[in-house]
């Protein structure tokens, strides 16, 4: 009779631990203040060079940068906020 009780406690602990992990992960899926404060220029410098040289803003028109931004997001898997900030910087 004792073993099922121990099993139940273990199950309870495992469930609580799983909920804690999931809640922690969900809670951490937001941008820190340090990252949120980054400018488009800084994100452009940090992210583009992960694969290739940083592009010149004069290469494409504002509308074209919107298209390029979406294409690049599918490749580098940058976040939506990063893409918007980088494209806004390149459109200037």
């Amino acid at each position: 009779m004792k073993r099922p009780k121990f099993k139940n406690i273990s199950l309870l602990i495992a469930t609580a631990f799983s909920i804690f992990i999931v809640v922690s992960l969900i809670d951490s899926c937001k941008v820190s203040q340090q990252v949120a404060a980054k400018s488009g220029a800084q994100l452009w410098a940090e992210n583009c060079q992960r694969c290739h040289n940083t592009p010149s803003p004069s290469t494409f028109s504002a509308e074209q940068w919107e298209t390029i931004g979406l294409h690049m997001q599918t490749r580098a898997l940058i976040t939506d906020d990063e893409r918007k900030k980088i494209v806004d910087f390149l459109k200037q």
Binding site: Q49, R50, P55, F60, I68, Q73, T79
Partner: protein
Amino acid sequence: MTQQKNIIRTSFMLLLIILQQTAIKAQQTVVDSSVLDRITELEKQVSYKKSGEEHFLVVGVATMGFAAYKTTNTIGGIASTSKTNSFPDADNFEFSPMLLWRHGSKFLMEFEPSFNNNGLSVNWADVSYFAAPGLIIRAGYFVLPFGTYAKREAAGWIDKLATDPMGIADMTPTDYGVEVEGGLPLGNMKMNYDLALTNGNQLNPDGTLTNGNIVDNNNNKTVTGRLGLLPFSNSSLEIGVSGMFGKVGDQGALVQNTSGNLYAFDLNYVKTLSPILLNIKSQYNIQNIGNVNYLNPADSSTYTFNNHTSSFFAQCSIRPVGAEGFLKNLELAGRYTTFNTPSNSTFGANQHSVTIGLDYWLNWRSVFKITYDSYTNNSTASKNLGAFTGTTNINTFYLQFSIQL
């Protein structure tokens, strides 16, 4: 008499004024008409050029060059050497315009036909829907999320060296299916995910795989996924792990339950350590296919072997971004690659190559490369099957130019 003269003079003056006003009015009518026409024309042009919802853009890549090969085959201590060259380098020529259509801010269509050493082919043709922050849904024909080299680093104007690391891109299929992917913030870190469901690889009778088949050879779909983590807030480091799982045998054949399980681990580190830009890239691929009876193409007999393949590369490049003038545009790169195909098969080999290169960047997206590659192939194929069992060395000198269109 005088009064009569005054009347005539006044009448004449009035006539002149009337004629003048009529002429001015007629002239004004002509001017107004041309201005109106011009305004109408401009309105048409403005209407045609308004931003609208649809945007079309052509980009892409062109790569061309020259390669000189010195090949030495050694069997039983006896060596034979030959020298060849090709202009342009047949394995590294590519002209691939990429067509991008954007509908509003949610849909993107990508189509990249390619003229290369395989003739005319298609690199990808897909539609992406940007469903929500961190969620992109794609369908069509696309590069699978297996490692990062094929999807991000293979283009000639991105790759620091004239050649692809052998076995890396070859083990990353382009396939038909659906895919979900996205990038998510994780506090100071970031993560990304990519999951695809596709037709999958198909097993050839000799134990190798083919991919990119528009008709599936069985009812089992292949799952390919990658998880990437960028642990630093400056995004300088990304590490990733990938897996690809699915049945590869033909439906109804003896090998119909044979599975192909592939794994990949990738690393990308790019950081400016003033005055140098340091760029390190690496990927390790593993491919395991079930050990069933395979066909010996030499005599159509069957045999079996441990169908395990692996490939690895590590590449480092440095660019003096803090320098001035000519020196700032130079980049020095080196890479070590291994590619081991199944021993005791008809195509078993332990291959490795050392590649070094010097690049000159004409601008951010066009580069002139000088690359030297030393390749060694030690055959591990089965002597009993009549395969080549010697050693091959190929030293190659490449000149290559690549530009993003």
